[in-house]
Every structure is written in C-alpha cells, then in structure tokens.
Symmetry: C2
Subunit: 328 residues, 2 copies
C-alpha cells in the first residue's frame, strides 16, 4: 500500500516533508498546493506537480493525507478545519494555549466529514508532550522540567528585528548547564526563569545606529528578555549570513519522581533531542503521524486526534509482529 | 471509578506494585495471591487480604486487573495465559527472544475469554522499546543504540555465584562513557560489545578459597564475561551486605539518524532513566498499563497487547481534555 501525500504550503517545513517522503518507501508525494503562482515554485522532486490551493476543492480522490505546513498564528486555525472537511490532515499547530480550542474546532469538522486529523505533531508539542505524558503516568509523584535549545526562537528574533536601527537579528535560547545538572541529580530544584535558560542575540545594525541603545532595548524588553541573562553580540551582515542561517535546535524533558511507601526512592526520566534541522525533524514527525492518520481513517476512527491518542504501533511501517520481534 | 487491583506473587516487584497502587488514587489493592501459605505473608498495606493462588479460580468478580509478578523463566509463560482466561492481566515478561511466542499464546486465550492482557511492560522491554519504536518511525534512516546500567545483572550475578569457592557475588553492568559520548556526537560509531559496557564484580569468598582462580574463572567465562573488560573486587561479607544490596539501575536508548535529500542533517534522540529502585519503577509502569488495560476492556478491545498497541492517553488518570490542556 502506498500512501498518497499532499503538501499544503512550500516553506522550510514543507521542504522538510518533501525530503521525508523520500525516506519512506510506503509514501508518495502526489502534489504541493500553494497560494502563490504554482509556476513560481520549483520542487526538488521530479515529476510532482504544484497546484493552486484552490484546486484542493476537487482533488479529494487523489490524496490520502494532506500535510499542512502553514503557520500557527493565522494559517492553521483556518486551514486544518477547512481541509479536514475534505481530506485526512496532519498539522504542527504549536500555540500551546490555543490547542484545546483548535482541537474542538477541528474535531467538529472531522466528525462531520468522517475524516481524521492529527494536530500539533512535532517535538513541542509532539514528542516532548509524549515524554511528559508517559513520565507523568509512570511517576505520579514527581516534577516536570522542560528545557529548550540550543536553538533559534523565532518570536524572540522577530522582537529584536522590530527595534529601530536593527537590520537583522537572531536569538538563541540556551539551557543552563548547571540547571540541567541540578535536575539530573534528583534534588527536584525550584528553578526560576533566569536559572533555566539564557538568551544570546546576534544583531546586525543599520549604519550609524546607536548600539548601546539597541542593547539596552533588548535586555530590558519585558516578557521577551528582561527575566533572562541576555548577551548581545553586534556582528557584520557577512558574519550573520555565514554563521547564523542554520536551523539547529533541541531540548530536554525531565521527570523526577519518587516511589516507595515513604517516597524513599528517586527516579529520573530524561528525553532529549539534538537536531541539525528543526524543520526536517518536525517534518519527519508529521510524516510518521500521516501513516497513523491514514490507518485510523481506514479503520473508521474518525475525528481529531493528538499524539496522545495514537497507538505508537500505527506509526510504524513494520507489521505489528515485526515490531514485537525487532523493537520490543 | 476505582480500579480493583490484584497482585499475583509477593517478591520485590510485587511489593513495588503494592506501593505504586498507593500513589494512584483511582486504584485499590484488593488482594495478593501466593503459592506460599497465605498466613506466612505480611503485607505493608492494612486491611488487604492474602489469598492462596488457587482462590483465583472463583474471584473473577472481585478484581478488575491482575498484576502478575512472577518470573519470566517459568512463571509468566504459564500464568499469563492461564489467568487471562479469567481476568484482565498485566505482566513484565522480559525474555526478548520469546516475546512473539508468549504474545501468540496469551492472545489466543484473551480472545477466547474476551479479556485484555498487556505483556512485557517495564523498561526493557517497555519504555525503552517505545523509545526505539517512536525514534525508528521518526528517523527511518538511522542507527539504534541501547546501553544498560549502571545496575545489577541478575544473570551475571548468578553466574559468579555458581563458581566453586564463591559465597556471594554481585555484578554491575556499566555503560562506557566514551561510547555514550561517541553516540551523542552523531558519528554513528560501530561499537563492539567490549566498547559499549564494562562489568564490575563484587565477590565474597569461602574461607581459604583461591581468589586468583576465582578471578580467572570470572573474567574468562564465555558469553558472560570474556567479551568484556571485567574488574573483580573481593570484599568481606559485611561490606557486601552494606554496599551491594541496593536495586538501582538505569540505561540509555539512542537513535541517531539523518534527514535531508542527501542525508546532510543529523539528529540524535536520547532517552535515559536513572532508577534508585528497579522493581519499584517497573511496578509503576505495570500500574500505568493496568489503567489502560481496564479501559481497553471496558471498550471491548479484547486480546493481547504490548506497549506498542496502547494509545498513551489510556494510561493517564487525567481526562483527554485535561491531558491536552496541561501536558501537550
């Protein structure tokens, strides 16, 4: 069985999905849908067509699962709901606070259309969430810790770029090693925001800009930077382009918990990832859940799901018997 | 809803389950079953009865899930199959090579009896298997590494104790730090058995025993020790009892994989645990899957399952909506 994949959008995440389909012999990329002029887009995969997003209205028979690669701010809240009325869909909606609302909206449509949506697939939300859920079930008496980085925060980079005089900027979120070690020790520390992460900024300024004022504007910015130890580096545009165009990321999820009649034994569960390419890793998570979505659809398990609702077996290209034999 | 738990057996794992039930307000320990004289066993929980294992024949209405705490060598291959004909059951069957056979045997009975069994719950098999499965789905082009320890290997400790002149002995399996670092670097090393783990032995000898001969017998023992760098420490019985009666364990599961059209980006997923008490942690995994087993039973999803077949949501005491709100 070959699963016919469609990609909606063609940014970094979509290009990751395109390359991920390549790694999965049971999948075939059958089209990319864009709001731009289809002619303006050149795919990396030979023989795959680019369609106008409007063509989605009539192509239900040509795709088994659509991977929605738009942004969480404005695209996905509309698109996931709209396209699940016609297709099985996967998204990486990552605005944590709005997941319950997004779930309800998408679920309502998916039930009506007898389709499957799996939302918020990626690493946080996604694999990190799974680690939190499993670990909480196993160690009910415990404490969670999530650390992000080292990696670029888009929101913080945007905030820097909005400062007058700034031409370009990138912000790295970096977990503080001593905090990781304190958690690993099992001491269940109470950690302030400042103790968990530090922020490092690389900034290119307009000619004649006041770097002191810019640095002050950054480090004192409420919500974004004022609660953190922040370092600002002013660099040339050449250095910026050379050294700060990567998309590496990563992070750590811990559960530290106690067992025993008197809580006398401590246990640490640590899940961590170190990624050369954040969008390509996220894309690979999306593709694994696309396989699960299609199987749930064939099994008539319609509705909206998250990573919590999907039995891991459904994500694997191996048969359940082979999974038991080789991975259990 | 309170889930009524029965424990079969009363060794270290069973005592772990007893304390785990205590941490889970939606569960109640309703009885312990033993092959010994019930009077000879004193539970830590007040008001819970100890029954003869023969009483299981007539108590189907009193228990929602039985946790089978026997050994994998001889108890579980018989017990899981026998008791799933009357109860929902959980086991920690850990003879990896025999899991497929155990699964088929248990599944056949469970389907006949319209009950649920979840087998091989623990950490390896169990949480480590889950980490391998998820990571393989996400990074199909990659390599797996599993390390165990630092912790006691029962089989290797038994092998030491069978040597003439040895009064008592314990063997620790220890992952080699440089191997962990090589895997973390993303270099996808080929590691020999000797490069992955070392073995450390603490041995108490009979009076007048030949320690040189014993040391040689250990380090040259085929399968168990000859492929490893093994250190032997001869210690007094007092020191042995003082320092080597703990049940700490742990380990690491890695997937190192590539993405991108030319495999140009590398990713590392690392899952690790550090346990003060191996049996109590395993017990907590069993109990979380007991919750899932009961829900699967209520939903009429009969048969034998493994951790691969269970949607993580089913293990949590939280409602799906609360899971999404607090953990996703």
């Amino acid at each position: 069985m070959i699963i016919r994949i469609g990609i909606v959008g063609y940014g970094n995440l979509a290009r990751g999905v395109e390359s991920s389909v390549n790694q999965n012999p049971d999948m075939k990329l059958c089209g990319v849908f864009t709001r731009r002029a289809p002619d303006s887009i050149k795919l990396k995969t030979d023989g795959v067509k680019v369609f106008s997003i409007d063509d989605l209205k009539t192509m239900q028979n040509d795709f088994d699962v659509l991977i929605l690669c738009g942004g969480s701010a404005t695209d996905l809240p509309e698109q996931t709901r709209e396209y699940v009325s016609m297709y099985n869909v996967i998204d990486s909606f990552d605005t944590h606070a709005k997941i319950p609302e997004h779930f309800e909206n998408v679920n309502e449509e998916a039930i009506k259309s007898s389709r499957v949506a799996i939302i918020s697939c990626g690493w946080d939300p996604g694999m990190f969430s799974l680690s939190r859920l499993y670990s909480n079930c196993i160690l009910p008496d415990g404490k969670d810790y999530t650390f992000w980085g080292k990696g670029v925060s888009q929101g913080h980079s945007d905030a820097i770029r909005r400062i007058p005089g700034v031409k370009n900027g990138k912000q790295y979120t970096i977990p503080i090693e001593s905090a990781l070690d304190a958690v690993r020790s099992g001491s269940n520390p109470e950690l302030t925001t400042r103790q968990k992460h530090k922020r490092e900024c690389y900034v290119v300024v307009e000619e004649g800009a006041d770097t002191d004022a810019i640095e002050k504007a950054i480090v004192t910015m409420p919500n974004y930077f004022s609660d953190y130890d922040t370092t600002v580096h002013f660099i040339s545009e050449d250095e910026f382009n050379l050294k700060h165009s990567g998309m590496a990321h990563g992070g750590f999820v811990f559960r530290s918990g106690k067992t025993g009649f008197n809580g006398e034994n401590n246990h640490i569960i640590e899940y961590s990832i170190k990624l050369d390419s954040n969008p390509e890793f996220t894309a690979n998570v999306l593709i694994a859940y696309a396989r699960a979505a299609y199987r749930l659809y064939l099994d008539k398990q319609y509705g909206c799901k998250t990573v919590f609702d999907v039995a891991p077996s459904l994500m694997s290209p191996l048969s359940p018997a082979d999974q038991r034999k080789t991975l259990l």
